[in-house]
Amino acid sequence: MSDAAATHGEHDEAAHLAHYMKIYRTLVVLFLVSVSGPFISDHFVHSKALVLVTAFGIALVKAYLVCAHFMHLNVEKKFVIYMLTTALVFMFLFFAGVSPDIMEHRGRNWENVAAREETASALKEQAERAAHPGEHEGAEHAE
């Protein structure tokens, strides 16, 4: 592979580098968008959809760009992509099989009492904190 590449001229080399830089610039722009979305949602218009799209949708695009162009999966043998995708698919399978028990806290003939109580008490506490922000300095630095 390296031999073949070495025979290319200076021009090809420069084009190659420019390509990497272009991908990098795109990534940085996407990164800025992904950070600004949640920022806007927190400080201006509260929108869960905006957060999801900017944070997670763009993460997918960024991951795609890195995988395809930096890891060179775009020129790699198809087999590798199938292999990695299979591993990913198994993770979706795991999620699908497990979430009815873990994500849900109530199902047919069972109830996760501890989780429901924990959620209720924690949310109550958080609401109280929001109502009296002055008592909890620690919470402030986060934004």
Partner: protein, 225 residues
């Protein structure tokens, strides 16, 4: 099949035993068939002087039939087993007949506690009847149980009922049973719960309505003393 080893005391015990018998018949058939063919071939094709083995690739259609047809028959048997299994499962675990009585069962290291409603008929009131390692129930009465665990996993298992359900700390799991005979039987813990796992024997006492009411009254009297 199972009833030869252990009594059927709950209403659904027979269903589970019949399912087991059905599976035993199906798998038994395949087991005997394959073992007979297998041993028969070993005997039939022992090395004989001057006889060379045949060259069979097994890739041609008429050859593949020998594994293809059994394979499809196995699929049919599988479907029968799945249908049988799901029907029993739905009856025993997924759907529940309306409750006539409710009992709370709590597993902890290493004992079973049982809480039954007292004279007021409600759980979690002051007059609840609490027993340890002994569960008294009425015969021919549908019980719902609310299963909890205090510390680690336990499993509430009554072999004569064919009933088993893990108890999980933090969760309340509901199930049901309906005894059809009086008597006293074992309760086992079926999920390892530490050093005393083998020392967690409890008993279930199935009584007639009259006996049970007398027992309840005696317990209530004890509690108020």
């Amino acid at each position: 099949m199972i009833e030869h080893y252990i009594e059927q005391v709950s209403t659904y015990a027979a269903d589970i035993d019949n399912l087991i018998t059905m599976i035993a018949v199906i798998t038994g058939f395949w087991f005997v068939l394959v073992e007979v063919v297998f041993l028969g071939l070993i005997v039939a094709y022992r090395k004989k002087p001057g006889v060379k083995a045949q060259y069979i690739t097994g890739e041609e259609k008429h050859q593949k039939r020998w594994i293809g047809i059994p394979h499809e028959l196995v699929l049919l048997c599988d479907i029968a087993v799945i249908i049988g299994a799901v029907r029993v499962w739905v009856d025993v675990k997924q759907t529940m007949p309306p409750a006539q009585e409710t009992v709370r069962i709590i597993g902890q290291q290493w004992a079973w506690s049982f809480v039954q409603p007292g004279p007021d008929g409600k759980l979690d009131t002051a007059d609840d009847i609490k027993t340890v390692d002994e569960l008294h129930v009425k015969v021919d009465t549908t019980y719902h149980f609310k299963l909890e665990a205090r510390d680690v996993l336990h499993s509430f298992s009554v072999p004569v009922f064919r009933l088993k359900q893990d108890a999980i700390p933090g969760r309340v799991i509901t199930g049901w049973f309906r005894a059809k005979k009086t008597g006293t039987h074992d309760i086992q813990c079926a999920e390892i719960c530490g050093i005393g796992h083998g020392l967690m024997p409890a008993r279930i006492v199935i009584e007639s309505a009259g006996e049970h009411n007398a027992w309840m009254a005696a317990q209530a009297a004890l509690a108020t003393k």
